[in-house]
Symmetry: C3
Subunit: 139 residues, 3 copies
């Protein structure tokens, strides 16, 4: 069994944002040499997500608005967590809706995707350096 | 390491619906011959889900109502994504709540499940042919 | 390929609660002897979650409040599922938001985590014995 590990680093300049990381995951897969197996991609931080959906800017605006309605940033004092001096409690909620990780099948050396599947890093508490882990296992 | 791949095809006749796919996943597991490993089951489309929960019709009605309250289909012009000519933005939201994929342990040649765990395909934008991927890895 | 399986048992004395199970998962990883691979941790019950987030009590209070707003326990007759004699339909909703499972990379014999990642059992219908499955695969 082959095993390959790579970190991706981000510093999203705004509080929230979505970054298409599919090309970087494909690069890692090529580097791994794995032909049959799985690829785990996960946020290493608990106020960020990795998820699979469509690369369509209108949809991303919809996600932003929808997540803000489900778990508003303001008022920050609404959250107990923010009494620790943080202002990112809402980001911990948004991350749970969007998910921590994706597991993608690898078939014949490629990410085994449907027609519109793209992998995104979802940042909910940006303006700092944060990481995503790619772990590839197979043969 | 053995590797096995199978696609399931669906054409749900209504916009939304839940389909218990546990028997098909069990079939795939038998066909794979894997005794110890994991089974990844994921929607290959971004307006559908694969999730594990109870096969109880009342609960499925509750999910339908709850998801529609969290991310209403109407008014369709509420969503930026629908300006592309689609009317399925809500389906992209519902899919995030219910999830893209499940990873199930395989032990002694069986899906290693608790008493009530069943695997479902969740359709949020039906009336078209769509796929689920089953990928099984192990020995 | 090595394969290791372990169950954790819980009996949370209240309806809802979060239990940090990171030490137990680390114990299982040591027992498995796996150095490179993956660790699947999943609830075996459909009214409970396994998720990764921060071990901060204020945040856990926020999750409790937020989940109760998204999927209220009361009125129990609001849910079709509860006509079966259950009163836990809300628990099935909360579990979908928080997720069934996590997949964690194993690198050099350790859970490959970012600085704040901790694994939790999330109970939404407690006061009974329930299980979590740990399945470790690798070399």
């Amino acid at each position: 069994m082959k095993s390959y590990r790579k970190e991706l680093w981000f510093n999203v300049p705004s509080r929230r944002g979505f970054v298409n990381i599919t090309p970087q995951v494909e690069d890692a897969l090529r580097e791994s040499g794995v032909r049959e197996g799985i690829c785990l991609v996960n946020a290493m931080h608990i106020t960020a997500s990795v998820f699979i959906n469509d690369d369509e800017s209108g949809l991303h605006q919809d996600y932003e608005k929808w997540l803000e309605a489900l778990a508003p940033h303001e008022p920050v004092q609404h959250y107990q967590h923010n009494r620790t001096g943080e202002d990112n409690a809402d980001a911990h909620m948004k991350r749970q809706v969007m998910g921590r990780e994706v597991v993608v099948a690898i078939t014949a050396g490629r990410l085994d995707f449907g027609p519109w599947e793209q992998i995104f890093y979802g940042e909910f508490d940006g303006r700092r350096r944060k990481r995503v882990l790619i772990k590839i296992l197979g043969e």
